[in-house]
């Protein structure tokens, strides 16, 4: 599903040039659950932004679903992104002025899905996440765990093939964190490919494979042995 070849990202300001990713090459198969670990500033989030088509690499190639996407314009990236990729962020990134229902509905609006179909799909996914009873609440009225479950609902409502999660339990207590990880695990078992950036070794345990980054480069790769 994902293949990168010498992916490099350099951030330039007037005075400083920072290489966030340095010739990273790796692949992710369909249905895999991959964790990306490493210390702060090692390039994890930059990698996730590139994989999520939120940004273009400085050099190198990125193939997504067997199509080269490393030099697409923002409009083309947005088109690929909205129909294929779901995002889960550490700070949930819900829109505070919209209700739970409206937040989850957003990706479907941008996909041009009709109102009645949207309502059905949002209600289905909220029920799956155990959030249906909170559909009319606003994010600030929810606990952290509920907010993240809403964010996961929003990430999967468009039935994406890939979910990118950036520290999904980073702002949650352990009980809520585990709840969210179980949800992601369940989605993966149902066939969704997941790439997750995390600091937490216990979260990484859910992944079948862990990639360790350091100073923008892959240093080790661990594959979990089946018990």
């Amino acid at each position: 599903m994902i293949q990168t070849n010498k992916l490099t990202k350099v951030f330039r300001t007037d005075e400083v040039e920072t290489t966030a990713l340095n010739e990273v090459s790796f692949g992710v198969d369909e249905g895999e659950f991959v964790a990306v670990m490493g210390p702060s500033g090692c390039g994890k989030s930059t990698l996730l932004n590139l994989l999520g088509l939120l940004d273009n690499p400085t050099t190198g190639e990125y193939y997504f679903m067997e199509e080269k996407v490393s030099n697409l314009r923002e409009k083309q990236r947005a088109k690929k992104r909205k129909s294929n990729i779901g995002f889960v962020f550490q700070n949930f990134n819900l829109i505070d002025e919209l209700t739970v229902f409206e937040n989850v509905e957003l990706p479907l609006i941008y996909l041009g899905i009709k109102g009645s179909e949207r309502k059905k799909r949002v209600d289905d996914v909220l029920e799956q996440m155990g959030m249906l009873h909170r559909r009319k609440h606003y994010p600030l009225q929810l606990s952290g765990g509920q907010q993240q479950r809403t964010a996961v609902a929003r990430a999967i409502v468009a039935r994406p093939k890939l979910i990118l999660a950036d520290e999904p339990t980073g702002n949650l207590d352990s009980a809520h964190g585990e709840e969210v990880m179980n949800l992601l695990d369940q989605l993966n078992q149902n066939g969704t490919t997941i790439v997750m950036v995390t600091h937490s070794p216990s979260d990484a345990e859910y992944a079948r494979r862990t990639i360790n980054l350091f100073d923008g480069q892959i240093v080790t790769e661990n594959i979990k042995q089946a018990l």
């Binding site: 939120l54 992104r81 962020f89 700070n91 990134n93 957003l106």
Partner: protein, 255 residues
């Protein structure tokens, strides 16, 4: 005989407003009618159409023209003579008129004014108001545009995160522009509904100063509202475009 002479001396031409004022049924019936003034009995020998004797600030009122028949009367009473001339020959005309005036009324000094300048003086206040309101309108629009730009910038900055989220979820540039401009267009609409009655009241009060004034057309309000809407659309679109172009990853990354 005395009466006859007196009547001959007091021939009057009056305007239609005077006919109406005297309560005579029509212009024709007014001719030959007599009325009393401070000078004695007067006789109407003609009626002319109403014209504005003073500025347009005042209504056309009853007006009586004193007709002089004898040369000596004309020389004695005439203070002003109106002369119409072809433009571009003022110097020659003035020299000619001065010569004629000295012969006509040697005891009176020759003085002159130009009618167009006299008429201009009647409306000099309006001219000043027009210039001043033009400057003030420009300043008002400038301040409003600057304020609007500041407000849009502030709101767009406040909503950078939301815009980033929407972009991540697949919103196009036009989606974002529509959201931001839509909100401001509502504000412009509400502002117009408040401003229109206020402007109507102020303008109709001002126009009451003129006996003869233009009517206020609805399209003037519609035009000013449309200009405000177009300016808002341009400013919000530019700002929304700039914010939307930010990389959604970079917007959300440092939250």
């Amino acid at each position: 005989m005395k009466t006859k002479t007196r009547l001959k001396k007091c021939l009057r031409v009056i305007n239609e407003a005077m006919v109406e004022y005297m309560g005579w049924p029509d212009n024709q019936s007014a001719i030959g009618k007599k009325f009393h003034s401070l000078r004695g009995q007067e006789r109407v020998v003609g009626v002319f159409k109403n014209f504005n004797v003073k500025s347009l600030h005042s209504q056309r009122k009853p007006f009586v023209l004193n007709m002089k028949e004898n040369d000596w009367e004309i020389r004695y009473f005439a203070a002003w003579v109106a002369v119409k001339y072809l433009p571009g020959s003022e110097k020659e005309i003035l020299a000619f008129l001065e010569e004629k005036w000295k012969a006509f009324a040697p005891s009176r000094p020759f003085d002159y004014t130009f009618l167009d300048q006299e008429i201009d003086k009647l409306y000099s206040n309006e001219e000043k108001v027009s210039t001043l309101s033009g400057i003030l309108t420009f300043l008002t629009i400038l301040i409003a545009v600057l304020g609007l730009f500041g407000l849009v910038s502030f709101m767009a900055d406040q909503r950078t995160r939301e815009i980033g989220i929407r972009r991540t979820l697949g919103a196009t540039l036009s989606n974002i522009i529509r959201i931001i401009t839509g909100e401001f267009m509502w504000l412009v609409l509400i502002a117009n509904f408040i401003a229109w009655p206020a402007a109507y009241l102020v303008l109709s009060n001002w126009l009451k100063n003129f006996a003869y004034h233009t009517s206020m057309n609805f399209w003037v309000y519609l035009l000013s509202g449309s200009i405000a809407a177009v300016l808002t659309l341009i400013i919000t679109s530019v700002k929304a475009y700039n914010v939307s172009r930010l990389n959604p990853g970079s917007v959300l990354k440092y939250e």
